[in-house]
């Protein structure tokens, strides 16, 4: 039967570092997240199957993409579009759909993987890529 009884796991539980996966007795009680704002550490960019690629030459800086992005993955600087945060962008394509200037193209991730993380020639013709995958916050 369930006879293992370690010290009270909840009381001593500390925040879990992302890469050391603790055993059941050492996880925080009730799956409570004990750190604020730690969602930023979660690389939701891994989920992406299509990547928004922005042709900044033709971008009119209306910032509709920034307004509509459900993940806050559009980086704006000085009231102008700067880049997509590919660490968090899930590739939903809403920005591309909403862009009135039609300068955001959704490109299959496999095309980037084939080119070892660099934009392939075909993609470069579509727009200039400023951020790489895996770069935290750009």
């Amino acid at each position: 039967m369930k006879s293992e009884q370690k010290e009270n796991p909840g009381a001593s539980a500390k925040a879990v570092a992302p890469k050391e996966k603790p055993g059941w007795a050492d996880v925080p009680i009730g799956a409570v997240v004990l750190e604020a704002g730690c969602g930023v550490e979660y690389e939701t960019g891994e989920w992406r199957s299509e990547r928004p690629v922005v042709n900044t030459d033709k971008c009119i800086n209306c910032l509709f993409c920034w307004v509509f992005c459900p993940d806050g993955a559009v980086i704006v600087e000085n009231e102008k579009f700067k880049a997509i945060d590919y660490y968090h962008c899930k590739g939903c394509g809403i920005c591309s759909n909403e862009c009135p200037a039609k300068v955001i193209t959704m490109v299959e991730e496999t095309k980037f993987q084939e080119a070892n993380g660099e934009a392939s020639a075909a993609v470069q013709g579509n727009g200039n890529i400023k951020a790489k995958t895996g770069g935290k916050g750009e």
Binding site: M1, Q5, V27, I29, G30, A31, V32
Partner: protein
């Protein structure tokens, strides 16, 4: 010490809630729990409690509200029955998974269809895997006493699990009985100040509840919840001892009635235990060594204790006030049977389903079970491991019961 009043089970429970004075109560009325909420609402309007009372639009919302309140860092309670408990379903698992010490009174009632408002234990039996501690009470006094103890059990740092305090609909919830209330200040001192763990409203130490946890961590959290359940027996026993000191009333996780030297016995939950005890007294007067094991704590289930306490019996009947269609028997029958699997000494076992939808279970019914047990104990075979007690017209089960009742009468076990 205390005050003796005439109270229904629901009134007794409402009195306990008044004395506990939780920060939040959110509830929706449903027969046979209704007057818990009605009575408590009158305490709120009369200013007898400081509780924030939330009259929600459904039981799903009731459980959601107490979950939110408990996570926010306060003591939160509710009460329900039957369809109401069913509607709470997804939230039950959330309350337990988040390790929130919510206490809920459940006036047990049958589940629809067909629609029925009377007492059986199908509602809470279905919730037995939700991670809630489940304590079944046999009468009004015990419902009152257990609700007060449940606060301490749920909030204990080694447990941190929600607790259901179950009592039979109508038989206990609506019938009047003498109930001795503790003084208000004694209850207040016994339950103590609520000490929250990781309260959401602590803005200096912000935390998140209810995050997405996938295959890399979910398993560990569920296992840790089971550990809370594994620690519960000791806490339940300690709290019971402490409660006995202030009240003079003690309840174990299971209660034995003349079972230690018995040859035949029944395992039963709730109010039918009282009926069984009356029958045992009559049988004992005739020299028949019968006994009762009343199971109070279904979760956590006292597996080792039951196997030890009942191993010496020649024949045992487990009586279930709920069925598990297509299974080997009722939920308690299945579990008691499993408890004996590793024991060398174990009785022959039969499992009876009784009292569904509030069907009256009389001393004659219980006597008929003991009569069957006697035959088995005398070397008879277990012909029907599963039977329905007091059922009409069944080709096998019903006839067995009716015949057994007739035989019991003929044998003069009950004049």
């Amino acid at each position: 010490m205390g005050k003796l009043i005439a109270a229904t089970g629901n009134q007794a429970v409402a009195q306990a809630m008044r004395q506990i004075d939780p920060h939040v109560v959110a509830a929706y009325p449903i027969t046979p729990q209704t007057d818990v909420v009605e009575e408590f609402a009158s305490f709120v309007s009369d200013g007898l409690v400081s509780t924030e009372f939330v009259p929600v639009e459904s039981e799903h919302s009731a459980m959601s509200t107490v979950i939110g309140s408990s996570a926010a860092g306060v003591r939160a309670m509710t009460a329900t029955s039957s369809q109401g408990l069913a509607l709470m379903w997804e939230m039950l698992y959330i309350a337990a998974g988040l390790r929130l010490p919510i206490v809920m009174a459940v006036a047990n009632r049958a589940l629809s269809a067909p629609l029925n408002i009377h007492g059986d234990q199908s509602d809470s039996m279905g919730a037995r895997d939700s991670g809630w501690i489940q304590l079944y009470c046999k009468n009004q006094q015990e419902a009152y006493d257990t609700l007060i103890q449940a606060i301490r059990i749920a909030e204990h740092k080694d447990v941190r699990l929600p607790v259901m305090v179950c009592y039979d609909g109508f038989i206990v919830s609506h019938s009047l009985s003498g109930v001795t209330l503790l003084d208000d200040d004694k209850v207040k001192a016994f339950v103590g100040k609520h000490v929250p763990l990781y309260p959401l409203l602590d803005s200096k130490n912000p935390v998140s509840y209810g995050g997405l946890v996938l295959f890399d961590f979910y398993f560990e959290f569920r296992r840790q919840m089971v550990d809370g359940m594994a620690r519960a027996p000791r806490v339940i026993d300690e709290v019971a001892m402490e409660f006995a000191e202030i009240s003079g009333r003690h309840y174990g996780r299971y209660e034995k009635y003349k079972i230690d030297d018995a040859e035949i016995g029944v395992v039963v939950l709730g109010s039918a235990a009282s009926t069984s005890e009356v029958v045992v007294d009559e049988l004992r007067a005739k020299g028949i060594k019968a006994g009762v094991m009343r199971l109070k704590s279904l979760r956590p289930f006292p597996r080792e204790e039951l196997a030890k306490e009942l191993g010496h019996l020649k024949a045992l009947a487990v009586l279930d006030r709920a069925d598990s269609p297509g299974a080997l028997g009722g939920p308690v029958g299945l579990e008691v049977r499993s408890a004996f699997f590793e024991s060398e000494k174990r009785p022959k076992l039969i499992n009876g389903i009784y009292g569904l939808g509030g069907r009256d279970t009389t001393p004659e019914h219980i006597a008929s079970v003991f009569y069957s047990l006697q035959k088995i104990a005398e070397g008879g075979k277990v012909e029907e491991p599963l039977f329905y007690l007091g059922l009409r017209g069944g080709k096998d089960d019903g006839r067995q019961s009716e015949a057994a009742i007739a035989q019991a009468r003929a044998a003069g076990q009950r004049a």
